[in-house]
Protein backbone atom coordinates (compact mmCIF):
# COMPACT_ATOMS: atom_id res chain seq x y z
CA UNK A 1 0.00 0.00 0.00
CA UNK A 2 1.21 3.49 -0.78
CA UNK A 3 1.72 5.68 2.29
CA UNK A 4 -0.60 8.65 2.61
CA UNK A 5 1.72 11.51 3.42
CA UNK A 6 -1.04 14.06 3.78
CA UNK A 7 -4.70 13.50 4.46
CA UNK A 8 -7.21 16.28 4.90
CA UNK A 9 -10.86 15.68 5.61
CA UNK A 10 -13.82 18.04 5.88
CA UNK A 11 -11.48 20.91 6.66
CA UNK A 12 -12.97 24.32 7.30
CA UNK A 13 -11.19 27.54 8.13
CA UNK A 14 -12.11 31.17 8.61
CA UNK A 15 -9.97 34.03 9.90
CA UNK A 16 -11.46 35.46 13.12
CA UNK A 17 -14.61 37.39 12.35
CA UNK A 18 -14.63 36.66 8.60
CA UNK A 19 -16.41 34.40 6.15
CA UNK A 20 -14.86 30.93 5.68
CA UNK A 21 -11.83 30.92 3.38
CA UNK A 22 -11.79 27.13 3.09
CA UNK A 23 -14.87 24.94 3.30
CA UNK A 24 -15.19 21.19 3.41
CA UNK A 25 -11.80 20.49 1.86
CA UNK A 26 -10.87 16.82 1.44
CA UNK A 27 -7.58 15.71 -0.03
CA UNK A 28 -5.14 12.81 0.03
CA UNK A 29 -1.56 13.12 -1.17
CA UNK A 30 0.52 9.98 -1.45
CA UNK A 31 4.19 9.62 -0.73
CA UNK A 32 6.37 10.92 -3.54
CA UNK A 33 3.62 12.80 -5.39
CA UNK A 34 4.41 16.22 -6.86
CA UNK A 35 1.28 18.34 -6.52
CA UNK A 36 0.69 21.81 -7.92
CA UNK A 37 -1.90 24.06 -6.28
CA UNK A 38 -3.38 26.76 -8.52
CA UNK A 39 -6.08 29.36 -8.03
CA UNK A 40 -6.56 33.14 -8.12
CA UNK A 41 -5.22 35.70 -5.59
CA UNK A 42 -7.00 35.21 -2.30
CA UNK A 43 -8.21 31.68 -3.05
CA UNK A 44 -6.69 30.45 0.21
CA UNK A 45 -3.57 28.67 -1.00
CA UNK A 46 -1.29 30.20 1.58
CA UNK A 47 -3.93 29.69 4.25
CA UNK A 48 -4.13 25.98 3.40
CA UNK A 49 -0.35 25.70 3.78
CA UNK A 50 -0.40 27.41 7.14
CA UNK A 51 -3.03 24.91 8.27
CA UNK A 52 -1.04 21.91 7.05
CA UNK A 53 2.06 23.12 8.87
CA UNK A 54 0.11 23.68 12.08
CA UNK A 55 0.61 27.43 12.20
CA UNK A 56 -3.13 27.98 12.00
CA UNK A 57 -5.71 25.81 13.75
CA UNK A 58 -8.62 24.49 11.63
CA UNK A 59 -12.10 25.70 12.53
CA UNK A 60 -13.29 22.15 11.80
CA UNK A 61 -11.98 18.95 10.23
CA UNK A 62 -8.82 16.86 10.46
CA UNK A 63 -5.37 17.09 8.94
CA UNK A 64 -3.00 14.17 9.28
CA UNK A 65 0.60 14.31 8.10
CA UNK A 66 2.50 11.03 7.93
CA UNK A 67 -0.47 9.37 9.57
CA UNK A 68 -0.30 11.56 12.68
CA UNK A 69 -2.75 14.40 13.34
CA UNK A 70 -1.14 17.85 13.01
CA UNK A 71 -0.66 19.47 16.41
CA UNK A 72 -1.05 23.24 16.03
CA UNK A 73 2.08 25.03 17.17
CA UNK A 74 4.22 21.88 17.42
CA UNK A 75 7.51 21.64 15.55
CA UNK A 76 7.67 18.91 12.92
CA UNK A 77 10.96 18.84 11.02
CA UNK A 78 9.51 16.38 8.52
CA UNK A 79 7.41 19.17 7.01
CA UNK A 80 9.31 22.03 5.44
CA UNK A 81 7.80 25.17 3.98
CA UNK A 82 9.32 27.87 1.82
CA UNK A 83 7.45 31.14 2.06
CA UNK A 84 6.47 33.46 -0.72
CA UNK A 85 8.48 36.34 0.74
CA UNK A 86 11.74 34.47 1.07
CA UNK A 87 13.46 37.37 2.77
CA UNK A 88 11.26 36.78 5.82
CA UNK A 89 12.71 33.35 6.19
CA UNK A 90 16.34 34.38 6.32
CA UNK A 91 17.19 35.51 9.79
CA UNK A 92 20.82 34.71 10.48
CA UNK A 93 23.86 36.88 9.83
CA UNK A 94 25.43 34.41 7.41
CA UNK A 95 24.13 31.89 4.90
CA UNK A 96 25.90 29.08 6.73
CA UNK A 97 24.29 29.95 10.05
CA UNK A 98 20.94 30.37 8.36
CA UNK A 99 20.98 26.91 6.84
CA UNK A 100 22.11 25.54 10.22
CA UNK A 101 19.24 27.23 12.10
CA UNK A 102 16.71 24.40 11.57
CA UNK A 103 19.07 21.49 12.30
CA UNK A 104 20.26 23.31 15.45
CA UNK A 105 16.72 23.58 16.69
CA UNK A 106 16.30 19.86 16.02
CA UNK A 107 19.06 19.37 18.60
CA UNK A 108 21.53 17.75 16.21
CA UNK A 109 25.26 17.64 16.92
CA UNK A 110 27.74 20.14 15.50
CA UNK A 111 29.23 17.63 13.05
CA UNK A 112 25.91 16.41 11.69
CA UNK A 113 24.77 20.03 11.27
CA UNK A 114 27.86 20.95 9.26
CA UNK A 115 27.44 17.88 7.11
CA UNK A 116 23.83 18.77 6.34
CA UNK A 117 24.66 22.38 5.56
CA UNK A 118 27.32 21.25 3.09
CA UNK A 119 25.03 18.72 1.44
CA UNK A 120 22.18 21.15 1.00
CA UNK A 121 24.45 23.90 -0.31
CA UNK A 122 26.05 21.53 -2.78
CA UNK A 123 22.69 20.35 -4.08
CA UNK A 124 21.59 23.94 -4.69
CA UNK A 125 25.02 25.01 -5.97
CA UNK A 126 25.54 27.83 -3.49
CA UNK A 127 28.69 26.69 -1.65
CA UNK A 128 30.43 29.91 -2.65
CA UNK A 129 27.82 31.98 -0.79
CA UNK A 130 28.10 30.29 2.61
CA UNK A 131 29.92 33.15 4.34
CA UNK A 132 27.82 36.00 2.87
CA UNK A 133 25.03 37.74 4.78
CA UNK A 134 21.79 36.40 3.23
CA UNK A 135 20.06 39.76 2.96
CA UNK A 136 22.72 41.04 0.58
CA UNK A 137 22.03 38.35 -1.97
CA UNK A 138 19.89 38.69 -5.07
CA UNK A 139 16.29 37.48 -5.07
CA UNK A 140 17.23 34.28 -6.86
CA UNK A 141 20.09 33.46 -4.51
CA UNK A 142 17.93 34.17 -1.48
CA UNK A 143 15.36 31.70 -2.67
CA UNK A 144 17.99 29.00 -3.02
CA UNK A 145 19.28 29.76 0.50
CA UNK A 146 15.76 29.45 1.91
CA UNK A 147 15.40 26.13 0.11
CA UNK A 148 18.67 24.90 1.60
CA UNK A 149 17.56 25.95 5.08
CA UNK A 150 14.59 23.65 4.68
CA UNK A 151 16.42 20.81 2.90
CA UNK A 152 18.95 20.68 5.75
CA UNK A 153 16.11 19.56 8.01
CA UNK A 154 15.54 16.65 5.60
CA UNK A 155 11.79 17.01 5.45
CA UNK A 156 9.74 14.35 3.67
CA UNK A 157 7.03 16.83 2.68
CA UNK A 158 8.19 20.05 1.03
CA UNK A 159 5.75 22.93 0.62
CA UNK A 160 6.55 25.92 -1.57
CA UNK A 161 4.49 29.10 -1.87
CA UNK A 162 4.98 30.92 -5.20
CA UNK A 163 8.58 29.84 -5.61
CA UNK A 164 9.15 31.66 -8.91
CA UNK A 165 7.86 35.16 -8.21
CA UNK A 166 10.62 37.77 -8.82
CA UNK A 167 12.97 35.16 -10.28
CA UNK A 168 14.55 35.68 -13.66
CA UNK A 169 14.49 32.88 -16.17
CA UNK A 170 17.94 31.60 -15.27
CA UNK A 171 17.10 31.02 -11.60
CA UNK A 172 13.69 29.66 -12.50
CA UNK A 173 15.39 27.01 -14.69
CA UNK A 174 17.80 26.18 -11.91
CA UNK A 175 14.97 25.72 -9.43
CA UNK A 176 13.18 23.42 -11.85
CA UNK A 177 16.39 21.41 -12.17
CA UNK A 178 16.77 21.05 -8.41
CA UNK A 179 13.15 20.08 -7.86
CA UNK A 180 13.23 17.45 -10.58
CA UNK A 181 15.92 15.59 -8.61
CA UNK A 182 13.75 15.08 -5.56
CA UNK A 183 12.26 11.71 -6.33
CA UNK A 184 11.95 10.72 -2.68
CA UNK A 185 10.20 13.85 -1.42
CA UNK A 186 6.55 14.76 -1.57
CA UNK A 187 6.09 18.21 -3.10
CA UNK A 188 3.24 20.68 -2.76
CA UNK A 189 3.69 23.86 -4.79
CA UNK A 190 1.39 26.88 -5.11
CA UNK A 191 2.03 29.13 -8.07
CA UNK A 192 0.53 31.50 -10.61
CA UNK A 193 3.27 30.40 -12.98
CA UNK A 194 1.41 27.60 -14.71
CA UNK A 195 4.29 26.70 -16.99
CA UNK A 196 6.37 26.12 -13.89
CA UNK A 197 3.70 23.83 -12.42
CA UNK A 198 3.57 22.00 -15.70
CA UNK A 199 7.29 21.32 -15.59
CA UNK A 200 7.53 20.26 -11.97
CA UNK A 201 4.25 18.58 -11.02
CA UNK A 202 2.49 15.34 -11.87
CA UNK A 203 -0.85 16.37 -10.37
CA UNK A 204 -2.70 19.66 -10.18
CA UNK A 205 -5.34 20.90 -7.76
CA UNK A 206 -7.44 23.95 -8.55
CA UNK A 207 -8.67 25.91 -5.54
CA UNK A 208 -11.34 28.57 -5.83
CA UNK A 209 -14.22 30.02 -3.82
CA UNK A 210 -13.24 28.03 -0.77
CA UNK A 211 -13.36 24.63 -2.45
CA UNK A 212 -11.34 22.27 -4.60
CA UNK A 213 -12.77 22.66 -8.12
CA UNK A 214 -10.54 20.23 -9.97
CA UNK A 215 -7.93 17.60 -9.21
CA UNK A 216 -6.09 15.57 -11.82
CA UNK A 217 -3.15 15.36 -14.13
CA UNK A 218 -1.73 18.68 -15.36
CA UNK A 219 -3.00 18.03 -18.86
CA UNK A 220 -6.50 17.22 -17.62
CA UNK A 221 -6.82 20.26 -15.38
CA UNK A 222 -4.77 22.96 -17.02
CA UNK A 223 -5.51 21.79 -20.54
CA UNK A 224 -9.24 22.13 -19.95
CA UNK A 225 -10.03 25.50 -21.49
CA UNK A 226 -13.60 25.78 -20.19
CA UNK A 227 -12.57 24.93 -16.65
CA UNK A 228 -9.59 27.28 -16.63
CA UNK A 229 -11.43 30.23 -18.08
CA UNK A 230 -14.33 29.73 -15.70
CA UNK A 231 -11.89 30.25 -12.85
CA UNK A 232 -10.16 33.24 -14.36
CA UNK A 233 -7.16 31.23 -15.46
CA UNK A 234 -5.68 30.54 -18.84
CA UNK A 235 -4.45 27.41 -20.51
CA UNK A 236 -0.65 27.59 -20.51
CA UNK A 237 0.71 28.25 -23.98
CA UNK A 238 2.71 25.07 -24.12
CA UNK A 239 -0.45 23.04 -23.40
CA UNK A 240 -2.82 24.94 -25.62
CA UNK A 241 -0.66 24.64 -28.65
CA UNK A 242 0.71 21.21 -28.79
CA UNK A 243 -0.11 18.29 -26.65
CA UNK A 244 2.84 16.30 -27.86
CA UNK A 245 5.31 18.98 -26.99
CA UNK A 246 3.95 19.00 -23.48
CA UNK A 247 4.33 15.25 -23.04
CA UNK A 248 7.99 15.72 -23.64
CA UNK A 249 8.33 18.66 -21.26
CA UNK A 250 7.00 16.87 -18.18
CA UNK A 251 9.87 15.12 -16.56
CA UNK A 252 8.21 12.06 -15.07
CA UNK A 253 4.89 11.44 -16.76
CA UNK A 254 4.62 7.96 -15.30
CA UNK A 255 4.28 9.16 -11.69
Amino acid sequence: MIAEDLKISSLRYSYPGQKPILQDIGLVINSGEKVGLIGPNGAGKTTLFLLITGILKPSAGQITVFEKPVKPGAFNPQVGMIFQHTADQLISPSVHEDIAFGPQNMGLGEQEINKRVKEAATLAGIQHLLERPPHQLSAGEQRLVALCGILAMQPRLLIMDEPTSDLDIRYRRRLIGILSHMEDKTLLIASHDLEFILETCSRVILLESSAICADGSPAEVMGNKTLMEKHGLEVPHSLSVSWHKHRKTIKKPGH
Binding site: F83, I91, P93, Q104, N105, G107, P133, I150
Partner: protein, 252 residues
Amino acid sequence: MIDKGYINKTAAQSILGRWEARLKLPGLMLLIFTFAFIRDLRLLPFLVLAAALTYSFSGLSLKHLIKRMRMPGFFLVAIALILPFWSGQTILWQLGPLALRLEGLLALLVITVKFFSILILVIALFGTTTLPQMAIALRAIRIPWLITDLLLFTYRYIYQLLSDLNRMRIAARLRGFRANSFNAIKPLAFITGTMLVSSHNQSERVFQAMTLRGYGNTKQPLPIFSPIPADFILLAVYILLSALLILFQFII
Protein backbone atom coordinates in the same frame (compact mmCIF):
# COMPACT_ATOMS: atom_id res chain seq x y z
CA MET B 1 30.93 46.29 12.45
CA ILE B 2 31.10 48.57 9.75
CA ASP B 3 28.15 49.46 7.60
CA LYS B 4 26.45 46.47 6.07
CA GLY B 5 27.67 44.07 8.71
CA TYR B 6 31.09 43.38 7.31
CA ILE B 7 34.31 43.99 9.13
CA ASN B 8 37.17 44.30 6.75
CA LYS B 9 39.82 41.62 6.33
CA THR B 10 42.78 43.44 7.86
CA ALA B 11 40.67 44.42 10.86
CA ALA B 12 39.53 40.83 11.33
CA GLN B 13 43.15 39.62 11.16
CA SER B 14 44.48 42.29 13.55
CA ILE B 15 45.33 41.77 17.21
CA LEU B 16 41.99 43.17 18.30
CA GLY B 17 40.15 41.33 15.54
CA ARG B 18 41.46 37.97 16.70
CA TRP B 19 40.91 38.68 20.39
CA GLU B 20 38.07 36.45 21.67
CA ALA B 21 35.05 38.77 21.87
CA ARG B 22 33.96 37.42 25.24
CA LEU B 23 37.22 38.80 26.72
CA LYS B 24 37.66 41.78 24.42
CA LEU B 25 34.31 43.33 25.32
CA PRO B 26 34.95 43.33 29.09
CA GLY B 27 38.57 44.38 28.58
CA LEU B 28 37.90 47.38 26.37
CA MET B 29 34.75 48.38 28.22
CA LEU B 30 36.76 48.47 31.44
CA LEU B 31 39.20 50.90 29.85
CA ILE B 32 36.37 52.99 28.40
CA PHE B 33 34.73 53.31 31.81
CA THR B 34 38.07 54.08 33.40
CA PHE B 35 38.53 56.91 30.92
CA ALA B 36 35.10 58.23 31.82
CA PHE B 37 36.08 58.37 35.50
CA ILE B 38 39.33 60.32 34.97
CA ARG B 39 39.47 63.98 36.08
CA ASP B 40 43.18 64.53 36.60
CA LEU B 41 44.72 66.75 33.93
CA ARG B 42 48.08 65.01 34.16
CA LEU B 43 46.56 61.70 33.06
CA LEU B 44 45.22 63.09 29.80
CA PRO B 45 48.33 62.32 27.71
CA PHE B 46 48.10 58.70 28.86
CA LEU B 47 44.49 58.48 27.75
CA VAL B 48 45.43 59.69 24.31
CA LEU B 49 48.38 57.32 24.18
CA ALA B 50 46.35 54.29 25.30
CA ALA B 51 43.61 55.09 22.81
CA ALA B 52 46.08 55.55 19.96
CA LEU B 53 47.94 52.33 20.79
CA THR B 54 44.70 50.37 21.01
CA TYR B 55 43.62 51.78 17.69
CA SER B 56 46.92 50.76 16.13
CA PHE B 57 46.15 47.16 17.19
CA SER B 58 42.86 47.27 15.29
CA GLY B 59 44.20 47.06 11.75
CA LEU B 60 41.85 49.90 10.81
CA SER B 61 43.19 52.75 8.72
CA LEU B 62 43.58 56.35 9.77
CA LYS B 63 41.15 57.23 6.99
CA HIS B 64 38.56 55.00 8.59
CA LEU B 65 39.09 56.76 11.92
CA ILE B 66 38.66 60.19 10.39
CA LYS B 67 35.55 59.12 8.51
CA ARG B 68 34.00 57.70 11.67
CA MET B 69 34.94 60.63 13.91
CA ARG B 70 31.77 62.40 14.71
CA MET B 71 31.73 66.01 15.56
CA PRO B 72 30.63 66.53 19.14
CA GLY B 73 26.88 66.83 19.40
CA PHE B 74 24.55 69.49 20.71
CA PHE B 75 25.19 68.93 24.41
CA LEU B 76 28.96 69.02 24.13
CA VAL B 77 28.79 72.24 22.16
CA ALA B 78 26.44 73.71 24.77
CA ILE B 79 28.88 72.78 27.49
CA ALA B 80 31.80 74.15 25.54
CA LEU B 81 29.97 77.48 25.42
CA ILE B 82 29.01 77.48 29.11
CA LEU B 83 32.06 76.09 30.90
CA PRO B 84 34.89 78.53 30.04
CA PHE B 85 32.73 81.56 30.74
CA TRP B 86 30.76 80.64 33.82
CA SER B 87 32.74 78.04 35.72
CA GLY B 88 35.63 79.00 38.05
CA GLN B 89 37.21 82.08 39.66
CA THR B 90 40.50 82.63 37.85
CA ILE B 91 39.74 85.16 35.17
CA LEU B 92 42.15 85.00 32.25
CA TRP B 93 40.66 87.59 30.00
CA GLN B 94 37.64 89.84 30.20
CA LEU B 95 35.51 91.71 27.75
CA GLY B 96 32.60 93.49 29.38
CA PRO B 97 30.47 90.90 31.21
CA LEU B 98 32.17 88.06 29.34
CA ALA B 99 35.05 86.53 31.32
CA LEU B 100 37.20 83.63 30.23
CA ARG B 101 37.96 81.50 33.29
CA LEU B 102 40.85 79.10 33.75
CA GLU B 103 39.01 76.36 35.68
CA GLY B 104 36.26 76.21 33.11
CA LEU B 105 38.73 76.09 30.28
CA LEU B 106 40.63 73.23 31.92
CA ALA B 107 37.40 71.33 32.60
CA LEU B 108 36.54 71.74 28.93
CA LEU B 109 39.95 70.35 27.99
CA VAL B 110 39.38 67.27 30.15
CA ILE B 111 35.95 66.71 28.63
CA THR B 112 37.17 67.07 25.09
CA VAL B 113 40.12 64.73 25.49
CA LYS B 114 37.94 62.13 27.21
CA PHE B 115 35.29 62.43 24.52
CA PHE B 116 37.71 61.81 21.68
CA SER B 117 39.75 59.11 23.45
CA ILE B 118 36.61 57.14 24.22
CA LEU B 119 35.40 57.64 20.66
CA ILE B 120 38.66 56.19 19.32
CA LEU B 121 38.32 53.15 21.58
CA VAL B 122 34.70 52.67 20.54
CA ILE B 123 35.61 52.83 16.86
CA ALA B 124 38.39 50.29 17.42
CA LEU B 125 36.08 47.98 19.40
CA PHE B 126 33.17 47.98 16.97
CA GLY B 127 35.41 48.06 13.92
CA THR B 128 36.85 44.68 14.89
CA THR B 129 33.78 42.92 16.28
CA THR B 130 30.77 41.68 14.33
CA LEU B 131 27.37 42.15 15.87
CA PRO B 132 26.79 38.40 16.30
CA GLN B 133 30.11 38.21 18.19
CA MET B 134 28.94 41.13 20.29
CA ALA B 135 25.69 39.40 21.10
CA ILE B 136 27.55 36.27 22.20
CA ALA B 137 29.84 38.37 24.39
CA LEU B 138 26.84 40.15 25.90
CA ARG B 139 25.13 36.84 26.63
CA ALA B 140 28.34 35.60 28.24
CA ILE B 141 28.32 38.53 30.67
CA ARG B 142 24.72 37.69 31.59
CA ILE B 143 22.86 40.41 29.73
CA PRO B 144 19.24 39.15 29.59
CA TRP B 145 18.20 37.17 26.49
CA LEU B 146 15.45 39.72 25.91
CA ILE B 147 18.08 42.34 25.09
CA THR B 148 20.44 40.12 23.09
CA ASP B 149 17.72 38.44 21.01
CA LEU B 150 16.14 41.82 20.39
CA LEU B 151 19.54 43.20 19.40
CA LEU B 152 20.23 40.46 16.85
CA PHE B 153 16.81 40.58 15.26
CA THR B 154 16.71 44.35 15.16
CA TYR B 155 20.10 44.47 13.54
CA ARG B 156 18.96 41.91 10.99
CA TYR B 157 16.19 44.26 9.81
CA ILE B 158 17.75 47.69 10.09
CA TYR B 159 19.35 47.89 6.67
CA GLN B 160 16.27 46.48 5.03
CA LEU B 161 14.04 49.04 6.71
CA LEU B 162 16.42 51.86 5.89
CA SER B 163 16.26 50.92 2.22
CA ASP B 164 12.46 50.49 2.40
CA LEU B 165 12.22 53.95 3.87
CA ASN B 166 14.48 55.27 1.17
CA ARG B 167 12.34 53.71 -1.58
CA MET B 168 9.18 55.16 -0.06
CA ARG B 169 10.72 58.61 -0.02
CA ILE B 170 11.84 58.25 -3.62
CA ALA B 171 8.34 57.17 -4.62
CA ALA B 172 6.86 60.15 -2.82
CA ARG B 173 9.35 62.48 -4.44
CA LEU B 174 8.37 61.21 -7.87
CA ARG B 175 4.85 62.24 -7.05
CA GLY B 176 5.99 65.75 -6.30
CA PHE B 177 6.47 65.49 -2.55
CA ARG B 178 8.99 67.97 -1.15
CA ALA B 179 9.94 68.03 2.51
CA ASN B 180 10.42 71.78 2.55
CA SER B 181 7.68 73.12 4.77
CA PHE B 182 6.00 72.18 7.99
CA ASN B 183 3.12 70.70 5.95
CA ALA B 184 5.44 67.85 5.09
CA ILE B 185 4.80 66.47 8.56
CA LYS B 186 1.61 64.72 7.42
CA PRO B 187 3.10 62.69 4.55
CA LEU B 188 6.16 61.97 6.70
CA ALA B 189 3.91 60.64 9.45
CA PHE B 190 2.06 58.54 6.85
CA ILE B 191 5.34 57.14 5.58
CA THR B 192 6.31 56.25 9.14
CA GLY B 193 2.91 54.68 9.76
CA THR B 194 3.20 52.67 6.56
CA MET B 195 6.60 51.45 7.60
CA LEU B 196 5.28 50.40 11.00
CA VAL B 197 2.34 48.53 9.48
CA SER B 198 4.42 46.71 6.92
CA SER B 199 7.08 45.85 9.51
CA HIS B 200 4.39 44.42 11.69
CA ASN B 201 2.94 42.31 8.89
CA GLN B 202 6.39 41.14 8.02
CA SER B 203 7.15 40.25 11.62
CA GLU B 204 4.17 37.92 11.62
CA ARG B 205 5.48 36.12 8.55
CA VAL B 206 8.97 35.98 10.05
CA PHE B 207 7.62 34.45 13.21
CA GLN B 208 5.70 31.80 11.28
CA ALA B 209 8.76 30.89 9.23
CA MET B 210 10.90 30.68 12.36
CA THR B 211 8.40 28.54 14.21
CA LEU B 212 8.39 26.06 11.35
CA ARG B 213 12.14 25.78 11.68
CA GLY B 214 11.87 25.04 15.35
CA TYR B 215 12.49 28.48 16.94
CA GLY B 216 12.10 28.10 20.69
CA ASN B 217 12.26 24.30 20.39
CA THR B 218 15.68 24.11 22.00
CA LYS B 219 17.74 26.72 23.75
CA GLN B 220 20.48 27.96 21.43
CA PRO B 221 23.74 27.01 23.10
CA LEU B 222 26.57 29.51 23.25
CA PRO B 223 29.36 28.58 20.84
CA ILE B 224 32.20 26.79 22.59
CA PHE B 225 34.46 29.16 24.50
CA SER B 226 38.04 28.27 23.55
CA PRO B 227 40.35 31.16 24.38
CA ILE B 228 44.10 30.91 23.84
CA PRO B 229 46.63 32.30 26.36
CA ALA B 230 47.09 35.46 24.30
CA ASP B 231 43.42 36.31 24.86
CA PHE B 232 44.00 36.32 28.62
CA ILE B 233 47.28 38.19 28.34
CA LEU B 234 45.57 41.00 26.44
CA LEU B 235 42.80 41.09 29.02
CA ALA B 236 45.41 41.28 31.77
CA VAL B 237 47.14 44.16 30.01
CA TYR B 238 43.91 46.15 29.84
CA ILE B 239 43.00 45.37 33.45
CA LEU B 240 46.45 46.49 34.56
CA LEU B 241 46.25 49.68 32.51
CA SER B 242 42.83 50.53 33.92
CA ALA B 243 43.97 49.74 37.44
CA LEU B 244 46.98 52.05 37.11
CA LEU B 245 44.85 54.89 35.80
CA ILE B 246 42.31 54.46 38.59
CA LEU B 247 45.10 54.26 41.13
CA PHE B 248 46.56 57.54 39.96
CA GLN B 249 43.19 59.24 39.78
CA PHE B 250 41.79 58.25 43.15
CA ILE B 251 44.70 57.40 45.43
CA ILE B 252 47.79 59.30 44.47
